[in-house]
Symmetry: C2
Subunit: 302 residues, 2 copies
C-alpha cells in the first residue's frame, strides 16, 4: 500500500513513519523540509502546487496529521481554518477524485468533544469549545459524509494528550503535560498550570503511532469516528510515577492552577472507549508503561 502521511516531519508524524517503514511504501508531506527524494513532498497544504504533488503521488491511503493546533488556532483562527478545514477538504477531494474509496485516517482530537463533565462514552455528543476542536468536528462530519457516499473510506481518531512532545512550543495548549517529563529528566523546577487533583487522558507517542497505523486496516463504518482509549490519571499520580521512574524531586514542582487551562485540560472524567476498542485500538497498558515509554522517547531524541 502507498501511504501519504501529512505532518510527516512532526512529533507524531515521525513516529508514524518509523512504524510504517518496511511495511508500506510511504510518501511524507510537510511544510518543513527535513527530507527529499521521491518519498517526500515539501510544501504548504494550503497551496495548490502541494495538492498537485500529493495527487501525483497516487496514494492508496492518507494519514492526515497536519494541523494548526489548539493554542495556535485560537491565536490565528483564519490560518487555522485555511489548513484545518479548507486544505483538508481540498486534499481529500483531490485524492478521492483520482479514485474512490481511498482510505483516510484522520487525526481528530478529544477537543472535538469539548468540555467534559460526565463519563465519556460512544454516545457522548460532539460539543467543541475550542476553535481547534470545532475544526476537527467539522472534518469528522465531512469525512463521514464522504464515506457514506463511497468517495473515501475514512476513520477519524480522537487523540488524547500525547506525551512526551518535544520541548519546543508545539502550539498546543496542553503542552504543559509534556513539559513535566522534560523538567523531570533535566531535574529542573516546574510550574504546573493545573492542580494535583486535575485529571487528564494520556497516550504515549509510540502507542499513538501504533493506533494510527492500525487505522489503515480498521473497519471504516458508521459513525466513522472514535474516541481512542487512553490512560486516565490525576496529575498527582502522574507526578508520583514520574518521580519514581526518574528520581526527580517532586518538591521542585509549584502548582499554580489556571482556571481556563483546568477547564480545558484538567477535568477529564472516566472514559469508556468501547467503539475504538472493538475496532482494535488500544491504550498504553498502564500509567507506569506509558510514562516509561514517554521517557524513552525523550531520551532517544537527545
Amino acid at each position: 500500500m502507498r501511504v501519504l502521511v501529512t505532518g510527516a516531519a512532526g512529533f507524531i508524524g515521525s513516529a508514524v513513519l518509523a512504524k510504517l517503514a518496511g511495511h508500506h511504501e510511504v510518501v511524507g508531506l510537510d511544510a518543513r523540509a527535513p527530507g527529499s527524494g521521491p518519498g517526500w513532498i515539501t510544501g504548504d497544504l494550503g497551496e495548490p502546487e502541494t495538492l498537485a504533488l500529493a495527487e501525483a503521488a497516487r496514494p492508496d491511503a492518507l494519514i492526515h496529521l497536519a494541523t494548526v493546533p489548539g493554542g495556535a488556532a485560537e491565536a490565528d483562527p483564519e490560518l487555522a481554518w485555511r489548513i484545518n478545514v479548507e486544505a483538508t477538504r481540498k486534499l481529500i477531494d483531490c485524492l478521492a477524485r483520482r479514485r474512490s474509496g481511498v482510505r483516510v485516517v484522520f487525526a481528530s482530537s478529544i477537543a472535538a468533544l469539548g468540555r467534559l463533565e460526565e463519563p465519556v462514552g460512544d454516545a457522548t455528543p460532539v460539543r467543541p469549545h475550542l476553535i481547534y476542536g470545532a475544526h476537527k468536528a467539522l472534518m469528522e462530519t465531512w469525512l463521514a459524509t464522504l464515506s457514506r457516499r463511497g468517495d473515501v473510506e475514512a476513520i477519524s481518531l480522537r487523540l488524547p494528550g500525547i506525551v512526551a512532545r518535544p520541548r519546543a512550543a508545539s502550539g498546543l495548549k496542553s503542552a504543559f503535560l509534556s513539559d513535566l517529563f522534560h523538567a523531570a529528566l533535566a531535574n529542573e523546577a516546574f510550574t504546573c498550570p493545573v492542580g494535583r487533583d486535575a485529571t487528564t487522558w494520556l497516550m504515549s507517542v509510540s502507542k499513538t503511532a501504533e493506533n494510527i497505523v492500525h487505522g489503515l486496516i480498521a473497519p471504516s463504518a458508521e459513525p466513522f469516528a472514535a474516541t481512542l482509549p487512553a490512560v486516565r490519571a490525576s496529575v498527582g499520580d502522574l507526578v508520583a510515577e514520574i518521580t519514581s521512574q526518574t528520581g526527580y524531586d517532586a518538591a521542585r514542582i509549584t502548582y499554580e492552577p489556571d482556571q481556563a487551562i483546568e477547564a480545558d485540560f484538567g477535568r477529564f472524567p472516566a472514559l469508556q472507549a468501547e467503539r475504538a476498542e472493538r475496532l482494535g485500538f488500544r491504550s498504553d497498558e498502564s500509567l507506569a508503561s506509558l510514562i516509561s515509554s514517554a521517557l524513552e522517547t525523550i531520551r532517544k531524541s537527545t
Copy 2:
C-alpha cells in the same frame, strides 16, 4: 431590533419579510435584486463587498436563509461550499466581530440528519448523506461552538419539506412535493417520483416563516439546534387531501418511483420534535390546514 435577512428575495425569505414587517427594522439581502433603498442589499454573499455592506448595516440579529440547495449543491459542490460554508462563516464572523452576542437564526435542514430509518427524536445523530446536508451540519456545529464561546447567540432550525414552493426550478431535489400542488391547481398531469406509500415531513411556508421569526426570541441553548416539528404524511394521504380541497382528478397522477429520490425524500419515519416544541416552535395543526395554507400561497402569488 434591526434584523438582517439573507436570501430575502427567495420563497421563504419573502414570507419572513412579510411577518417581520411592522415589528422589526429589516434589512434584506439577496443576490437577486428586487428591492432597493436603505433596507436592501443586493450582492453575492461570497463577495467581500457584500459582507462589508452587511456589517455596515449593524444588525442586532441575522436570519440566514441564503443557500445553495440540495440538487444544486450535488451538481456544483464547489459553489455550494463557497456559499453554504465559506460565506456563511465569513458573514457570521464579521457580524460577531462588530459586537458579540448577535442573535443568529440559521435555516438548517433535515438533510443534516441524513437517511432516516427509525423514529426521529432529539437524540437522533446527525449523519448527512447529501452534500447540502453535510454543509448544514457543519454550520450547525460551527454556530454551536461560537455560541458556547459567547461570540453569537445562535439557533439552527432544521426545516422539513416546505410547500408550496414556486414552480420554477428551486434546485431542491424535494421540489416534486410542491409541484404536486401546482399540478392540482392547474389540473395538469403529474408524474410522482415516489410511490403512494412514501412518507414525508411537511410544513407550510407560512408556518415556516412564523417559526423562523420565533427563532429571534427562542432560547439559544445547548445544543443550539433543533429539528422542527412537521406534519408527517404519506403521499397517498397528501393526494387525497389535495384532491378533496381542489377537485383535482387523482387519476391524472402517474407514479414512477425513483429509488434515489425515495431513499432521500420518501422514507421519513415518525418524528418527535420535543426540543423544538419546548422552545415554542410549532408544526401546522393538521394535514388539512397545511394543504389549505400551501394552496393559498400559490393562489395569492398568481
